[in-house]
Amino acid sequence: MAARTLTPGPSRRRRRNRVSSVWWFVLPAAAFYIFAVIVPSVRGASFAFTDWNGISPTKNWVGLEQFQTIFSDPYGSVAIRNTLLIAVAVTIIQNVIGLLIALGVNSRIKSRGILRVLIFAPVVVTSIAVGFLWKNLFAPDGGINEILRAVGLDGLAQNWLGDADIAIWAIIVVVIWQFSGYSMVIFLAGLQGVPEEVLEAAALDGAGPVRRFWSVVRPMLAPAITINLMLSIIGGFKLFDQVFAMTKGGPGGATNTISTLIYQNAFQLGKFGYGAALAVLLTILVAIAASIQYRLLSKQEG
């Protein structure tokens, strides 16, 4: 503030006029956004405080009862645990794999163009189709077990989707398989921005490949890391399609995520209020994760 009074500039009134005139340009878009996004979201969230069944013309206000149910409902606690596990596991593994592949195809290997296309291909397939594809691959007599048996690893053949302890990891593997290519592309874009001469200079100074990556490439990749972590953690929290296609949350509810529970309660069980409460919880979780991450990484970038 004090510094600003010392610097001569446009008069304050003109600047304020410019600010307020900007609002007139925002008006149409803002009106539409509030109408199409904000109002329905707030209305939807308000159902979380009712016992509405999604059909009945009447609904009663029940306060925070639905939120208490989430934590007393055995399905709720399993779904929250699964959602956190998926978000953390997918975020870490997918980005490590994506980064390694990006570093690989960013080198001068001959087939890098075709490799990039192949690795990115699963990203453009619809998630629900990917889910059904892997549901067949993971079948007791499906492709994965057939390959394991063919190479003599019968002991490793599993009941992938039927074993409550393994099924959640089968889903995590599918998500990582599908989206590592997406992380790769974003890392590649970041790697394109690393100047060749800086790397050469570091090499001349005697830095090995690991040291070059850590001291030169990594800081320059910070924006790409931020975007990738944000996208994968939010995607992990919201995961629905693959679970729905592969296990529908089974066996015995062992692979439910918050998203599949929302769908199940709101649309199949007629517990719209409970579904809305779960949706509000999910929104809060995503917002917290995103803001923590953004602060940490923007510090690092700064």
Partner: protein, 425 residues
């Protein structure tokens, strides 16, 4: 500052006005049909339903100038789409409705909200028996009807039975003998898909029909009155027999990882001798099978008294009329046609349905011949979930049976959870 406040307020106020005018969920808003002109009928039915198209062709030919617009919805989206449209007042004139209870678009869920037209006075309702009428409405009124029943028999691959030198079991001991004989030949006796959407709930339905609902058709009413529970009933015997069969090696290995299609294919190819499937899944088994493969059906026994075996028969999904329809007369005319002898015949010819009421000259498919007499007899019981008070019981039932098969829970705990869901509002 003041100007900015004014602009911000204007944005907020205009947006609010916009949203208030357009975001109404009152059920008296416009109907999605073309204004109720008496010539265009809208119908929300099933995706890929060949019967619907055949019915429409005939109805339009009988009524020149009338157009029927059929929207085919896939399972399970049909549940959300139809219920959302009814609530928001944008539903078709004719909507898919399930009998009894158990999902968001059943007669028990929709009728109390006033979303369905009362059809009690319609002539076609007279052809249904009392058991069916009981699940077609509430409070003695009728709000939906269906032209088909779903039968739940055990289906056997005839060649696979002959290879074992046995006939389809008529007692529970014979079932266990079949399991032993099949295992000795390296085959599965009963294909069981335990993955979500598989046929695993049906075997339990078959067992409880004989053990619980056949001897005591009022079991669900007694539960509602607090005079009976799943835990203190023959349900325990039914689940014990499921576990006993699993231990005897009756089922597909890795049951819980096996999808419905895989189980159907096992029966089709003879890798499994048989399986318990609903009748509308039998067509898929026949499609998976090689040319010339024959199948037979029998009621699945739960005791050693063959005459006590009860066959589960449930009224299938059908249709009701949207209470806010502007085309009620035309919709009723269409339902009259749907239930007429001509309409029923079209459904039998194009959809291989098993009719929900007697139809002159009806011949069941050779596969269903083994149970067709019993379907028309008193030795049947409705599917248990049609009498459950909410959809949650079914969800918990399916999850808990998976856990029982996976050895993650005991039969007592599973049934206690089902009791809790039954009592849940």
């Amino acid at each position: 500052m003041r100007k900015r406040f004014a602009a911000t307020s204007l944005v907020a106020v205009s947006a609010l006005a916009l949203s208030l005018t357009a975001c109404s969920t009152d059920s008296d808003s416009d109907n999605s049909s073309d204004g109720g002109d008496g010539t265009t009928l809208t119908w929300s039915g099933w995706a890929g339903d060949e019967v619907a198209q055949a019915l429409i062709d005939q109805f339009e030919a009988d009524n020149p100038g009338v157009t029927v617009n059929h929207t085919g919805l896939p399972w399970p989206d049909i549940l959300t789409q139809v219920s959302t449209e009814l609530v928001s007042g944008t539903a078709s004139d004719i909507v898919t409705v399930f009998p009894g209870n158990g999902n968001p678009i059943t007669v028990d869920t929709l009728a109390p909200g006033g979303y369905l037209e009362d059809l009690t006075s319609q002539g076609w309702t007279g052809a249904f028996n009392e058991a069916n009428k009981g699940v077609m409405g509430i409070d003695g009124k009728i709000y939906m009807g269906a032209n088909n029943v779903t039968i739940l028999p055990a289906i056997y691959n005839t060649a696979a039975l002959e290879a074992l030198g046995v006939a389809a079991p008529t007692t529970y001991s014979e079932v266990l003998d079949l399991c032993t004989a099949a295992s000795a030949q390296g085959k599965v006796a009963y294909a069981l898909g335990g993955l979500a959407g598989g046929n695993y709930p049906y075997l339990v339905y078959a067992l409880v029909s004989t053990l619980v609902y056949g001897p005591n058709p009022d079991f669900a009413d007694q539960q509602t009155a607090g005079d009976a529970t799943f835990s203190d009933s023959e349900w325990t015997t039914a689940l014990s027999k499921l576990v006993e069969m699993q231990d005897a090696g009756c089922f597909t290995a890795d049951t819980l990882g096996t999808a419905l299609e895989a189980a159907q294919e096992q029966v089709a190819k003879g890798d499994a001798v048989g399986g318990v499937f609903v009748s509308n899944q039998i067509g898929d088994i026949e499609r998976f099978a090689a040319e010339g493969t024959t199948f037979e059906t029998a009621a699945f026994p739960a005791t050693d008294d063959a005459s006590a075996t009860i066959l589960p028969v449930g009224l299938g999904a059908g249709y009701g009329i949207n209470a806010n329809s502007k085309n009620k007369e035309l919709a009723q005319k269409f339902l009259d046609f749907y239930f007429s002898a001509e309409g029923m015949q079209i459904a039998i010819d194009t959809g291989s349905i098993f009719p929900s009421q007697p139809v002159d000259g009806f011949e069941p498919t050779p596969t269903l011949a083994g149970v067709s007499d019993q379907v028309q007899s008193d030795d049947t019981a409705a599917f248990p979930d049609q009498s459950w008070p909410n959809a949650e019981v079914n969800q918990v039932f399916q999850d808990e049976v998976q856990k029982v098969l996976g050895g993650q829970t005991s039969i007592e705990d599973a049934l206690a959870k089902m009791d809790a869901a039954f009592g849940a509002k």
